[in-house]
Amino acid sequence: MAFGAFASTATAPAEPVVRRRSRVALWLLLPGILYLALFFLAPLLSLVIMSFQAPVEFGDIGQYQTAFKWENYTTVIGTYGPHIVRSFVFAATATVAALLFSFPLAYFIGVKLRRFPLLQALALTLVIAPFFISFLLRTLAWKQLLSDESWLVSSLHGLQLLPPGVHVTGTAFSVIFGLTYNFIPFMTLPIYASLERLDLRYVEAGGDLYASPASTFLRVTVPLAAPGIISGALLTFIPAAGDYINASRDFLGSTDTAMIGNVIEANFLVLQNYPAAAALSLILMVAILIPVSVYVVRSGTDDLL
């Protein structure tokens, strides 16, 4: 749709005007292009180069020289394959969980609270309120709350809802829980933005055309909220797949739950194996780009409102 609008101005008959316009557009784009070249393309290129580097012979640990050592990739995939798979499973599970939690919340704020603007603003503030406290502190607080000595876990043990000897922290559950918790605002806000504009007359029309409330919800409300669901899912899935805080041993995870982010961190900061870290980063990037582009194309965001 945006391309359509651009094309209609580009094909305007007055050519000099068009030329001047496009030059103005270029000037306006320049800062953005420079920024991207300097802070995105250059580091990306250096990352690609680094991922093929080989250790300096008889050099110190952490000394590498330019080479074309593509085996770096096969080595990290062989070593860290399970971590890569785990990252995607955890991120996908957290995205679904965040969606299940956020959609009703966003619907309540965007539709049900529409008649009460003050309450609506208050509810929105509450959604972003966790950001007032550091992400690290909040995740650490959950570590406390889910630890074996916490009142929550000890009472679950006491009520025999949790078998003795079963821990909560350091499990896949606590990592996914942490990811879900941390990304809920990123899921809620875009869905809210879609639902807040939802024209309830479409919902009425659904009822008028013999669709039960459940059917109307699935066939009218959800498709109309799709742009928000898609952006929320992307905003959750992409950072969650690369997250290294929640899965870290210092927070909610353990060595059994390490995700690709933790592996990159360890290779870079501890093992000083920069080529391996770079290769893993690029694998993560490509592995995210493929499903995301399929998702975006298939959801047809261009056709959505």
């Binding site: 024209d199 009425e204 055309l209 013999y210 409330p213 498709p223």
Partner: protein, 398 residues
């Protein structure tokens, strides 16, 4: 009822319907019966409760009190998706994420009717839009969207089709065309139509029966000609077309006619066309029934004469010319004269007399004591002004 169409249109019956919103009452004890297969128009100004009535019938609002029966079946407590009713919404409310065809097939698929897609194509052919079936609604013009909305409702063969000012957004020419198409479809498929509108011309040209609604109640109901020629209240007289109204005491009353004294002039109307026969009454006559004379006409039986008055405004509107005539003691009167010759026959400031056949007068049921004296005249004037502005806008648009 799933999987089958309604055999034919159904009666709609509203019994003692009241609808209160926080702070105001939209409808007060409304009783209404619409016979099966008829084209019924609910006409009234904005805020009179007509759209609320329609939403109650569609099941989009819940009545505070009263019962709604469709085809004899009580549907008061059922939800909108359970009622054999479809609505053409004022905003069309076409689903933007579906193609035109998917929109039209939506209701059929929800009711699991066989060959939904084929039937949707058929409905689109009825409104001559089958070639645009794969488009999205926002790629269509307003008139085309309106026709899709109509097809989406009609394809379900509802016992009752509700139309919520669906022609409001269309330009004059398209509106006329759609009025004719709607009427044709209604006659072809034999559904019961309930049409809500504030456009008196639209209501009169399309409907078999018109109900004029005001302040949550029905003021008068009947065939369009009957309503126009014999309005019972000042509201109907002024809302449905224009009227010249006069108030005065009845000075003589016989079996055939009553005579009202208005500022010293005797105005005669047939007894059977008057709702009240004694005391102060309001009588009226439609502007097109008046004849203009440039010299004092002779007194004749069966002719009412007023004048002399002065022409204060002349507005030419193509087929007719509208004159405002200030008659001392009676206020301002409106006259419509057919343009039999080129242009207006009298000019601004001319001295004129007005006559009309006594058979054309009507007497209202309103008690003039309830309304300020001559208030109707100013109403008439303001309505005439509105009408004129509308006509000018239409002329500009055309």
């Amino acid at each position: 009822m799933a999987g089958s169409f309604a055999e034919s249109g159904a009666d709609l019956e509203l019994v003692g319907i009241t609808k209160r919103f926080p702070g105001f009452t939209a409808i007060e004890d409304l009783n209404l019966t619409i016979p099966a297969g008829s084209f019924f128009a609910l006409l009234g100004p904005s805020g009179c409760g007509k759209t609320t009535t329609l939403r109650l019938v569609a099941g989009l609002e819940e009545a505070t009190a009263g019962r709604i029966l469709i085809g004899g079946k009580d549907v008061t407590t059922t939800k909108s998706f359970q009622r054999p009713v479809n609505t053409v919404f004022q905003s069309y409310a076409l689903f933007p994420h579906m193609s035109v065809l998917e929109n039209v097939a939506f209701g059929l698929k929800r009711r699991r009717i066989a060959d939904a897609t084929a039937k949707a194509h058929e409905a689109l052919r009825l409104v001559e839009l089958d070639h645009l079936a794969q488009r999205k609604p926002q790629q269509l013009s307003g008139g085309q969207q309106q026709r899709v909305a109509l097809a989406r409702a009609v394809v379900n063969r509802p016992a009752l089709l509700l139309l919520d000012e669906p022609l409001g957004a269309l330009d004059l020419k398209l509106r006329r065309q759609m009025q004719i198409e709607l009427k044709t479809i209604q006659q072809d498929v034999g559904l019961t139509f309930l049409h809500v509108t504030h456009d008196q011309e639209e209501a009169m040209t399309m409907a078999d029966t018109v109900a004029v609604m005001n302040k949550g109640q029905i003021e008068q109901m009947g065939a369009p000609e009957e309503l126009y020629e014999l309005p019972r209240t000042a509201f109907v007289a002024n809302f449905l077309g224009q009227s010249n109204l006069f108030t005065g005491p009845v000075v003589s009353s016989t079996a055939t006619s009553i005579v009202v004294d208005v500022a010293g002039r005797r105005i005669e109307i047939p007894t059977e066309r008057a709702q009240r026969h004694a005391g102060d009454v309001t009588v009226g006559v439609r502007p097109e029934k008046l004849m203009l004379h440039t010299s004092a006409p002779e007194e004749q039986p069966d002719i009412n004469v007023v004048g002399p008055g002065r022409v204060t405004d002349v507005s030419f509107s193509g087929v007719s010319t509208q004159y405002q005539v200030a008659v001392p003691g009676l206020g301002s009167m409106v006259v419509f004269a057919q343009n039999m010759v080129f242009g207006p026959v009298v000019s601004l400031g001319a001295e004129v007399w007005l006559t009309w056949n006594t058979d054309h007068g009507f007497g209202l049921a309103d008690d003039p004591a309830d309304a300020p004296r001559f208030a109707a005249d100013t109403d008439t004037q303001s309505l005439a002004l509105q009408k004129r502005e509308k006509l000018e806008a239409e002329l500009e648009g055309a």
